[in-house]
């Protein structure tokens, strides 16, 4: 978000995560900037005018930087598209680029409008994650699934905030679509579940490619939404 | 026919020889006592002769394959170990292992040998008791019975009567003598020189790893040998019930 709104000379350093293509859609644009690993000492030595942090930033680090007298702006994680809009506008104000932020939000609204449509038959969909968790109806991902015209399986199972869904139960509910996040490099037992033959052979498993787009409150969120819509449409076509 | 031939058998612990160039032959139908003070190398000699310990020189038994040897010689170690609460009969039946193929059940002949061994050691009434719950002396008798059940031409036993009550000591040596009379050979180490003199037809005396005397009890248990090997002044008195060994004093 900073990369989108700020002038290049405004940026002293970015989180290491900004350059990781799996967590940042703007990884290539982040490449020229120095990075930090989020340690208080490291950030302090850069002597920035402003430190932007998420609520995921280590509490001790935030408190330390506040004590040292730095101006801190903390961004909580977003739970809806509305919050994403609000965050972009707030960031625009903080960085002194309100016009740029307003333009971005307006463009997002136009695209969102184009993507949402009346759907008569919503496919029963599970967004299934490593270690057998499923996405709830509340929250950003749930909202995006609904916006894309999907019926979230969590609504049926009474899991508003998502939660553990054994593979067997998932299969028995016979969803029309099973969404899987993009594979993370490095193997683990947790993600191995997503490769279970029951899922792979069901013909319902759809691996999403726009993994990083889900993470941050940027217009790229709409890329993720577009992928969901396209997935639903290809399902409709196959009916 | 020789059952066991040793030729300059030597066992070293580090550089130091604990068995030093021992040679002898054992034939059929003998009860042989192996005597010597603590640390003379009795256990090492027996283990090396059975191929259980690395050695130099030659032992006719050590050269055989373990499975072949087990049919010729039974071994009762000094360490009396019965690890699990198995029945007395199960322990004794282990003696039949070399004679039956893997997985096979006890044959009638095996069972007869087990029963005979139990009977000989007076253990028939203990048959179904947990062996490791018995007293030390009773466990020793169980282990002797186990070695008997192996029914080999040669039985080697390391201090089998240590810790037994007098009656059991005498009974055990009687069993060994009966075995010898039946044509088996028993090589047994022991500290009770009276019993050694009375029951053994031949004694081997070991001192600092060397075989210092080999012959009948009268030939071996001389005042001179007892003084140099055991450092005691003692006499062997012939009585109407057999030889009696009487220690008199410790030599300086």
């Amino acid at each position: 978000m900073v990369l989108m709104l700020a002038e290049p000379e405004q940026i002293a350093s970015l989180s290491l995560l900004a350059k990781d293509a799996r967590t940042s859609v703007y990884a290539d644009r982040a490449a020229p900037y120095p990075t930090n690993t989020g340690k208080a000492e490291e950030v302090a030595l850069l002597a920035p005018d402003l430190v932007l942090a998420g609520t995921y930033t280590t509490r001790a680090t935030v408190q330390m930087l506040e004590k040292l007298g730095y101006r801190l702006e903390i961004f909580p994680p977003i739970n809806s598209l509305a919050e994403a809009r609000a965050n972009i506008l707030r960031m625009g104000d903080i960085l002194g680029q309100p016009d740029r932020a307003a333009d971005i939000v307006a463009a997002m609204d136009v695209r969102l409008d184009a993507l949402t449509e009346e759907v008569t038959h919503r496919p029963l969909t599970a967004f299934y994650h490593a270690r057998g968790n499923t996405t709830g109806t509340e929250g950003l991902q749930g909202e995006m699934m609904t916006a894309a015209g999907m019926e979230n399986i969590a609504a049926m199972l009474d899991l508003p905030y998502g939660g553990s869904l054994p593979l067997e139960k998932l299969v028995m509910e016979t969803p029309d679509l099973i969404l899987i996040g993009p594979p993370y490099s490095g193997h683990s037992q947790a993600t191995e579940l997503l490769e279970h033959p029951v899922l792979v052979n069901s013909g319902k498993r759809h691996v999403l490619t726009a993994g990083a787009a889900w993470v941050c409150e940027t217009p790229a969120l709409l890329d993720a939404l577009a992928e969901l819509v396209a997935t639903r449409k290809s399902w409709e076509a196959a009916q | 026919m020789s059952l066991l031939t040793l030729e300059t058998l030597t066992v070293r612990r580090g550089q130091c020889p604990v068995v030093d160039g021992v040679s002898f032959q054992i034939g059929k139908g003998e009860l042989i006592g192996l005597i010597g003070p603590n640390g003379a190398g009795k256990t090492s000699l027996m283990r090396a002769a059975l191929g259980l310990l690395a050695h130099e020189g030659r032992s006719s038994l050590a050269q055989m394959r373990a499975s072949e040897r087990a049919k010729l010689a039974a071994w009762m170690p000094q360490q009396r170990e019965i690890a699990w609460p198995v029945t007395v009969e199960t322990v004794v039946a282990l003696g039949r292992m070399p004679h039956r193929p893997t997985g096979a059940k006890l044959s009638a002949q095996d069972q007869a040998q087990v029963d005979k061994a139990l009977d000989r050691m007076g253990l028939t009434g203990f048959r179904d008791r947990a062996a490791n719950a018995l007293s030390g002396g009773e466990q020793a008798r169980v282990l002797i019975a186990r070695a008997l059940a192996q029914d080999t031409p040669l039985l080697v036993a390391d201090e089998p009567i240590a810790g037994l009550d007098p009656a059991a000591q005498i009974a055990t040596l009687r069993v060994f003598r009966d075995l010898a009379a039946e044509g088996h050979t028993v090589l047994v180490s022991l500290h009770d020189l009276s019993l050694a003199a009375r029951y053994c037809g031949r004694l081997l005396m070991l001192d600092k790893g060397r075989l210092v005397a080999d012959g009948t009890p009268a030939e071996v248990l001389t005042e001179g040998n007892l003084a140099t090997t055991f450092h005691i002044r003692a006499r062997v008195i012939d009585t109407e019930h057999g030889a009696l060994f009487q220690p008199i004093d410790v030599l300086p």
């Binding site: 490593a130 270690r131 057998g132 939660g163 553990s164 054994p166 593979l167 067997e168 139960k169 299969v171 028995m172 016979t174 993370y184 490099s185 490095g186 193997h187 683990s188 037992q189 947790a190 993600t191 579940l193 279970h196 033959p197 029951v198 052979n201 069901s202 | 283990r47 059975l50 259980l52 373990a66 499975s67 072949e68 040897r69 087990a70 049919k71 010689a73 039974a74 071994w75 009762m76 170690p77 360490q79 170990e81 019965i82 690890a83 699990w84 609460p85 198995v86 029945t87 199960t90 322990v91 282990l94 003696g95 292992m97 070399p98 893997t102 997985g103 947990a130 282990l143 186990r146 192996q150």
Partner: protein
């Protein structure tokens, strides 16, 4: 042999129960029919989810029970157990290294083989440190040291991992589970476990003889070196392959022989196959409990096993102490 039929029946019943209990209710008749073909969701769930789970639970249990009985027989110590003395933990370490550093992807059997290799190292270390003459204390101390080292290295490997699920991963390897495994896992682990079982099955005669100590066993015609080798590879293969797909599950090898010893007459060779059946039954029962007690909570098999096993372990130590006095 009197014991064989009841134990085998118990294993068969628990296997069927394991197939018919799940997070969704499927009528028993329909479930069992689904095992043998047909189209639709039920056959898919039965054949691809529940069947591999039941097979893995049974074979993991058999591996652990058998390995525990074999190690106890060899070391003549009722406290020897693959989990307790660090064999499972080391196998987990091997599996984690294989997974995290891409070795698992090199060829099909790389994962279980790495687990096997590390299990082998642990068994070697245990035999070297505690040895057949070593007392319970040496064994437990060696086990604690090896377990701790394996655990620390596993945590280190995951600590340095790029994977966001690494923290969860630590829990998996520590607690073990057979939930939602596929036939792919069965195909990976079962053949290697079977090799382990075959090797361990040949140790019965030697272990019986070892009741009387090493010297006596050797004089009974047992080749101790060959026995040790078969035991070593057998335990490593059975436990290593099991751990590679199910994580470390503790206490099975301790509890099962402990319970069955008095019933089998304590003879090590009898205890071997009895513990294999008993272990299969115990792990399947625990895995059914996992699904019945908290069906929505993803309860881990290893946690339930530890809750069953730890009190028995305490009892065993108490008994050992009483016997020493």
């Amino acid at each position: 042999m009197r014991l064989f039929l009841p134990l085998a029946t118990l294993v068969a019943l628990l296997f069927i129960a394991s197939l018919t209990v799940g997070s969704t209710a499927i009528p028993v008749g329909e479930a069992l029919r689904g095992l043998f073909g047909g189209d639709g969701v039920v056959p898919m769930v039965m054949q691809e989810i529940r069947l591999p789970r039941a097979i893995l639970a049974a074979s993991l249990g058999a591996s652990l029970g058998l390995s525990g009985a074999a190690m106890q027989g060899y070391l003549r110590n009722p406290l020897a157990e693959p989990g307790l003395i660090g064999v499972s933990g080391s196998a987990a370490l091997g599996a984690v290294i294989a997974l995290q550093y891409g070795i698992a992807g090199l060829f099909g059997l790389a994962l279980p083989l790495m687990a096997l290799l590390f299990a082998l190292l642990a068994v070697l270390l245990i035999l070297g440190l505690a040895g057949p003459r070593g007392g319970s204390l040496t064994l437990i101390l060696a086990g604690i040291a090896i377990s701790a080292l394996a655990g620390a290295l596993t945590s280190l490997a995951l600590n340095l991992s790029q994977n966001p699920y690494a923290v969860y991963e630590i829990l998996f390897w520590m607690m073990g589970s057979v939930a939602d495994r596929s036939m792919h896992h069965v195909a990976l682990a079962l053949p290697i476990m079977a090799i382990g079982w075959a090797l361990l099955a040949t140790t019965g005669r030697g272990l019986d003889a070892l009741t009387l100590g090493e010297d006596a066993a050797e004089a009974l015609g047992i080749n101790l070196r060959a026995l040790r080798l078969r035991l070593l590879i057998g335990v490593a293969a059975a436990v290593g392959a099991g751990t590679a797909v199910a994580g470390a599950v503790g206490f099975v090898g301790l509890v099962v022989p402990h319970i069955l010893r008095p019933i089998t007459g304590a003879k090590p060779s009898t205890l071997l196959w009895a513990s294999a059946l008993g272990g299969a039954a115990l792990v399947m029962a625990a895995d059914i409990l996992v699904r019945v007690i908290l069906p929505t909570k993803d309860l881990k098999l290893g946690v339930v096993m530890a809750l069953i096993g730890a009190p028995l372990f305490l009892h065993l130590i108490y008994k050992t102490r009483r016997e020493m006095n």
